[in-house]
Subunit: 206 residues, 2 copies
DNA sequence: TAGTGTGAATATCTTCACAGCT
DNA sequence: AGCTGTGAAGATATTCACACTA
């Protein structure tokens, strides 16, 4: 595994660059300089160049980077060339909002199914994605070979659902529950902790 | 400003420690060791001790940290002793879910008002918080002296609303829009970019 | 003995600055 | 002339390891 020494934050930035590049494609730009793209992404030019250099040489000295090709390479690096199916667990308030939220689809993720203890309730919230009983989770996950899950359940049950997801073959969890999940080390957990983000702001604001 | 050399991530961790401490308070624990608390928070003991040491000495050698007092000091450091009012801008799908979401209240934040171009629609989504027309934003912000805002509007209009928030005295923005906001340097922006988090996972999962 | 507080060592990440293409 | 690619320097953050103390 050669990507061992790529800064984790660089991966985040890659996503941001990709988004900026998509805008440039729409504008019909053919090339972009590191300084222009860096500005759009809110980073320093040198950092952008270094981030890209981890994956190869894509630019032309004196000219810049080819917009289209660079976007394609980032998609490739991020594993976004063929799109990953995703499931969502816990279609409560936040969960069902995420299901209606267009942001994931816009970035090319397909939420193929949702699971909840009370599927009826979720459906009544206007969710389009099929919502199944949480009991069917394992069989459906395995049938579809799903590896990415969004977890939006209350704190106290988050760990046990995470365990079940992992056992069913999920290796990436986007966790909205305000809980530190324990998972085997081959599983990646990404925490989005809304209250924590607000709290963090409040430190800088007073 | 002496907190200049405190790792930014340490502030995040402080919030996590605080959450764990609250649980310990409920359980009636009087003291906790760095290793126990670190385990609960998902960090190494040495890191926990270092994080706390930035703010003073709170532990007793051979014994551990007093749960209650430590929680109080963290609240103090995070500026959470008196609670900050927060507003939410953009009560669409995601925004109104956040308004119904109990997580903020549970952590002691009060969302005092929401603003949207179409307040009726938001109210019809079952939002309890008063929703005002986006036009009234400035006057109400200034009246209440609000300094924290949650921004959940579509990308294209995010920057202009951020500008208005800043002009009206907001100094901390929790930004859910998939856009890099430009703000004066005294303003802190905290980005929560849902699609980006998923994309990040997909890199590690393939 | 159990467990904090911390300097020093290490690891990680960012920025500089410039050689080298086009 | 303009802009990339990158080694080296600098800045930050984490971890170790142990002196110290209740």
């Amino acid at each position: 595994m050669e990507r061992i020494d790529i800064p984790k934050k660089a991966i985040y930035r890659l996503s941001i660059y990709h988004r900026c590049l998509k805008r440039l494609v729409e504008l019909g730009e053919e090339t972009v300089s590191s300084s222009a793209l860096a500005k759009a992404a809110g980073v320093k030019p040198a950092q952008l160049r270094k981030d890209l250099a981890y994956f190869g040489q894509f630019g032309t000295r004196g000219l810049g980077y080819p917009v289209e090709a660079l976007a394609a390479m980032i998609r490739d690096v991020l594993g976004r060339e063929r799109l990953q199916p995703v499931v969502l667990v816990g279609a409560g308030n936040l969960g069902s909002a995420l299901l209606r939220y267009q942001g994931f689809q816009k970035e090319g993720f397909e939420v193929v199914a949702a699971f909840d203890a009370d599927p009826e309730a979720a459906v009544s919230r206007g969710v389009q994605v099929p919502v199944f009983s949480e009991k069917e989770m394992e069989e459906r996950l395995q049938a579809d070979g799903v590896r990415l899950a969004i977890l939006c359940v209350p704190g106290p049950i988050a760990q046990s659902l995470a365990n079940r997801l992992v056992a069913a073959g999920v290796t990436g969890i986007l966790n909205f529950s305000p809980v530190v999940l324990e998972v085997p080390e081959e599983v990646v957990v990404n925490n989005v902790d809304l209250a924590l983000e607000l709290e963090h702001l409040s430190f800088f604001v007073r």
